[in-house]
């Protein structure tokens, strides 16, 4: 009241005007109060109206979403796309619906649209592991390796709600597989070794890692990883047998036939322990392979052998190769029927080999004893002969086949 009185006196109002002014203030207060009441009533009505409206929409959106899920489960992603889209029209901001629609779009091959949806979701949650993984897969489909690797890395570092370790391992394997397919084996090796370090207690993962390491041109680490599977206490017998087979193959590819033989021997022992896991046919194949490796070990002129024995092996190999050459040359001779037309290179190689073998003359052990360069030259001729005859006269068999294998990796073997 004091304030009003001060204002009245400042305005020089007459008593009648003062009364009018006070009535005006009361009137305005009442009007504002009335407006407040109206606003509250309108808000309450709007709230109930909205609530009813939202419930109805919720029913509709759930119905469409369920239809979409059923369609997806039944392998009809195109139909699911329409259903999820209808659900989204009632709840355009629902991340679940957007995710479902994006997955359905991706499943139905509509990569660009799926990427757009996933990108929008990713924008809201850039650290979400699942979204990054989906975007990585879409980038793979769209042939964008740089983006794909970035998204894979983001998925690895992203947030996973539950089973984070397993998910990250799966993503690392997927990334490694992708890198191998791109020919970026060295990068893949890094990821695989990191994954191996985190999977020592998981034989299945170790097996997958070992397999990928082998594909990533890292036989040494692949061999070690398969060895870990073999020795893992909780590895399934089938995994152990497969690991032993892989070990033998890797060892052989590295020229380590002793290791390869040992692995196959362990395979045979293990398969006898678990006859239900390996088939007789497979065992038979393994036995044949084992025989081959053992024969290989008898043919290889190891440096570690006593000099006499090494010379004998060098000469044995040369004899086998020379017979193969002689047979092949006879086959190519015009007298023995219509011969195939040799290319100029093959003809030159044939002449060179003929000259070499003629120059060599009779191969007496005494001539080679203590003459390492001559032994080496003979080994080289043997290798050249096996490679050339295989090319011209077809794949060899028996010892020639074994010598050919050695010829193809001479440095490793030696």
């Amino acid at each position: 009241m004091a304030t009003t009185r001060t204002a009245d006196s400042k305005l020089h109002l007459t008593p009648a005007e003062r009364i009018q002014r006070r009535r005006l203030i009361v009137q305005d207060t009442l009007a504002l109060f009335g407006l407040t009441l109206i606003a509250i009533c309108t808000a309450v009505l709007t709230y109930f109206f909205f609530h009813s409206f939202a419930e109805h929409r919720s029913v509709l959106e759930k119905r469409w979403f369920e239809r979409g899920q059923i369609a997806m489960a039944a392998g009809r992603p195109a139909e699911a796309v329409e259903d999820f889209r209808s659900a989204l029209s009632f709840s355009s901001t629902s991340a679940d619906y957007q995710m479902a629609l994006a997955e359905a779009l991706a499943a139905s091959g509509r990569t660009e649209e799926a990427a757009a949806y996933f990108s929008a979701l990713h924008d809201a949650e850039p650290g979400d592991g699942f979204l990054n993984l989906q975007l990585a897969r879409l980038a793979v489909r769209r042939g964008n390796p740089q983006q794909a690797v970035e998204y894979y890395q983001a998925a690895l570092n992203g947030l996973w709600r539950g089973q984070g370790t397993e998910r990250r391992l799966q993503i690392r394997l997927e990334l490694a597989q992708y890198l191998i397919s791109l020919g970026r084996s060295v990068e893949a090796q890094g990821d695989l070794l990191a994954a191996e370090g985190n999977s020592l207690d998981n034989p299945s993962a170790l097996f997958a890692i070992a397999d990928l390491l082998r594909r990533a041109d890292d036989p040494t680490d692949a061999f070690t990883a398969f060895r870990r599977v073999e020795r893992h206490g909780s590895a399934r017998p089938s995994q152990v047998l497969q690991s032993l087979l892989a070990e033998s193959q890797i060892a052989a590819s590295m020229g380590q036939y002793k290791r390869a033989t040992q692995a196959l021997n362990r395979y045979m022992a293990k398969s006898r322990q678990h006859p239900s896991v390996s088939s007789p046919r497979q065992n038979q194949a393994v036995e044949q392979q084992l025989d081959a490796y053992q024969r290989m070990l008898q043919l290889i002129p190891f440096y570690a052998l006593p000099p006499k024995q090494r010379v004998e092996r060098v000469l044995l190999g040369a004899d086998i190769a020379h017979k193969r050459y002689a047979g092949c040359a006879a086959k190519l001779h015009p007298k023995n029927g219509p011969s195939r037309q040799l290319s100029s290179d093959d003809a030159a190689a044939l002449s060179a080999l003929a000259a070499q073998w003629a120059q060599m003359g009779p191969r007496k052990p005494a001539a080679f004893a203590g003459n390492a360069p001559l032994q080496q030259q003979l080994i080289a001729w043997t290798n050249q002969t096996e490679i050339w005859t295989a090319k011209v006269c077809g794949p060899p068999t028996g010892d020639d086949a074994l010598l050919l294998q050695l010829a193809q990796v001479p440095d490793k073997t030696e």
Binding site: R23, I25, T46, F53, A116
Partner: protein, 600 residues
């Protein structure tokens, strides 16, 4: 009868004085005129204006929420939860509702026709801010029915008018002055639009650009308060997320702006096409016999429904879902182009037939489809472009908004607010500017102005108001011909000098770098009053001094002072007391005349 020419008072309280001046009070028989209220409570208007702005915002927000819900309900009820081509209801619903609307608009709510923007402008400039309750209710019902049944119109412009109607109602009930009541219309309009768009900045800018035409400090605070209040309400119900979601855009190569420039050019031509179709079809439909007016919304509904029935239900209604789908690259470029063309046709038909509803949503739809189409096309032939289809769609919305509605500033901010994405700023500005310039050069009269002219009204052109060249004092300024006298100079010396030089006035520099302009005629009186020969002139001059005027001030600032001063000294802002020149009333008038001549 046209949309706007019918007096809005025909449905409201027709009082001889004003609907607000001496209306009976809700609290009793006490009544006061504007002058009386101003006398006894001079600050009442200002205070109430701000408080009521908040109420206007709250109530507008609530009503707009209800309005949009009504549209959604009606859509589900009339067209089904997910309309598909081949459903007969797509043909029937818009046609039957159109017939009902034709009747309602003709006989019950004649003021509900049109989008609502021009009606609000008419309320502001012609009807002292008066929008009847019947108009407001009519707009709510008829627009909800039209949009819900699939007519190709949007809810934003009606929301704007509903907000303005609420403001008008509140202002009338509170017996605000005529001036305040007039200003309330844009305040309510901003609130309604902000709630409909969930975009307060765009709503404020639109009202300033299109309704008021200039930045006005008198209403800016109230507009902001109302817009913010209404958006708070809208976000409580609808959520705070932006209307569209697209990933951030990285413009890796500035040459990619060329791709957006192409979109700006295409959008500019599309805006012109859309405007010309509307400007042609609407008056032609109105020129048809009177009885056809009732049938026209029904016929338009049948055609629009036919478009939906035969394969493109996306063009029906506001179409925000379709915009969202287009942003996610769900359509091929030729489908998008077809949707843009069909939407132009459908909207032109719906709007020209007199069906109530707005142009904002269709404009955004057409822009988004065009943008996505151009984006898809360009990405197909130039796959190295990094912008997503969503980005092009978003820029396309701004482009058409700038070109068709001719609100360049609003169009830029609208894109930001609708997407919550500021990374797109450069493409938006470039494309919008191009579209705006093309549309302006090919279609000099903006569409809203064309529509008001068709209705027989002449509302101020906001584009012209914005671009009006303001004359400044420097335009009329000329150097002083005569001499400057010091205040210490004796009056007799000044008189002699004036007489010798035959000057009309003497310009005297007084203390504190103030100036006095002494007419030669007054000098004789001053000399008579002097007591000694060497008495300084300052001792004889009256106390008042010439006003401080600077060259950059608007020229009209001078007009108030010529009744006191024959010429006005204009001084430098930086160097106090430095005279830049003088202006006379004749200089000012000549300047205005020359300007008018150049303009004409």
């Amino acid at each position: 009868m046209s949309d706007l020419t019918a007096s809005p008072f025909s449905n409201g309280p027709a009082t001889a004085r004003s609907p607000l001046a001496a209306a009976p009070s809700p609290t009793g028989g006490f009544a006061l005129t504007d002058a009386e209220i101003q006398r006894i409570a001079p600050t009442r208007g200002d205070r109430l204006f701000l408080v009521l702005s908040i109420f206007i915002g709250l109530l507008s927000g609530l009503l707009v929420v209800c309005f949009r819900m009504s549209i959604e309900w009606l859509r589900v009820l009339l067209l089904g939860s997910v309309p598909h081509p081949g459903q007969y209801r797509l043909l029937l619903a818009p046609m039957l509702v159109g017939l009902l609307l034709g009747f309602m608009v003709k006989y019950i709510f004649p003021q509900a026709r049109g989008s609502g923007i021009n009606q609000t402008k008419a309320a502001l400039y012609i009807y002292n801010g008066y929008i009847s309750v019947r108009t407001m209710i009519g707009k709510f019902i008829t627009s909800a029915l039209a949009i819900g049944s699939g007519h190709s119109l949007g809810p934003e412009d009606p929301s704007l008018q509903i907000g303005a109607g609420i403001a008008s109602l509140i202002g009338r009930r509170l017996h605000l002055s005529r001036e305040r009541l007039r200003l309330f219309a844009p305040v309510g309009a901003a609130a309604g639009l902000a709630a409909a768009f969930n975009a307060p900045i765009s709503a404020i800018l639109f009202v300033i650009e299109e309704v008021i035409g200039a930045w006005s400090a008198a209403v800016l605070g109230s507009i902001v308060l109302a817009a913010v209040s209404s958006v708070v309400i809208a976000r409580y119900f609808w959520g705070a997320q932006p209307m569209f979601h697209i990933p951030p855009i990285t413009l890796r190569d500035s040459r990619e702006l060329l791709a957006y420039a192409v979109l700006g050019i295409v959008g500019g031509f599309a805006a012109v096409l859309f405007s010309r179709l509307l400007a042609t079809l609407r008056p032609w439909l109105r020129s048809l016999p009177n009885w056809t007016q009732v049938l026209q919304p029904g016929a338009a509904g049948l055609i629009v429904g036919g478009i939906g029935f035969f394969g493109f239900p996306q063009v029906m209604g506001a179409g925000y879902d379709t915009i969202d789908h287009a942003m996610h690259g769900e359509y091929l470029w030729h489908v998008l182009l077809a949707l843009a063309v069909l939407k132009i046709l459908a909207t032109t038909l719906s709007f020209s037939s007199g069906t109530p509803g707005g142009m904002f949503a269709p404009t955004l739809f057409i822009g988004a489809m065009l943008g996505a189409s151009v984006g898809s096309f360009e990405k197909h032939f130039f796959p190295h472009l990094t912008g997503s289809v969503g980005a092009y769609a978003l820029v396309g919305m701004g482009v058409l908004f700038a070109g068709f509605l001719r609100v360049p500033l609003t169009s830029v901010f609208m894109v930001f607010e609708l997407s919550g994405n500021y990374s797109i700023v450069l493409p938006v500005i470039l494309a919008n500017t191009l579209a705006y310039l093309i549309a302006r050069s090919l279609q000099p009269v903006p569409i809203f102005e064309t529509l008001t002219l068709q209705d027989g009204l002449t509302l101020p052109s906001m584009e012209e108001v914005r671009e009006e060249t303001a004359l400044r004092i420097e335009d009329a300024l000329h150097p002083l011909d005569g001499q400057i006298f010091a205040s210490s100079d004796p009056a007799a010396v000044i008189a002699a000098k004036i007489q010798e030089e035959k000057e009309d006035v003497a310009l005297i520099r007084c203390a504190g770098n103030r100036w006095y302009v002494l007419p030669a005629a007054d000098l004789a009186k001053i000399l008579q009053a002097s007591t000694r020969v060497d008495q300084p002139i300052e001792e004889l001059l009256p106390e008042d001094r010439a006003p401080f005027l600077y060259p950059d001030l608007p020229l009209n600032e001078t007009l108030a002072h010529f009744h006191r001063w024959p010429i006005l000294p204009v001084v430098n802002r930086a160097v106090s007391g430095l005279l830049e020149g003088v202006v006379s009333q004749a200089d000012v008038l000549k300047c205005y005349q020359d300007h008018a001549h150049v303009q004409s």
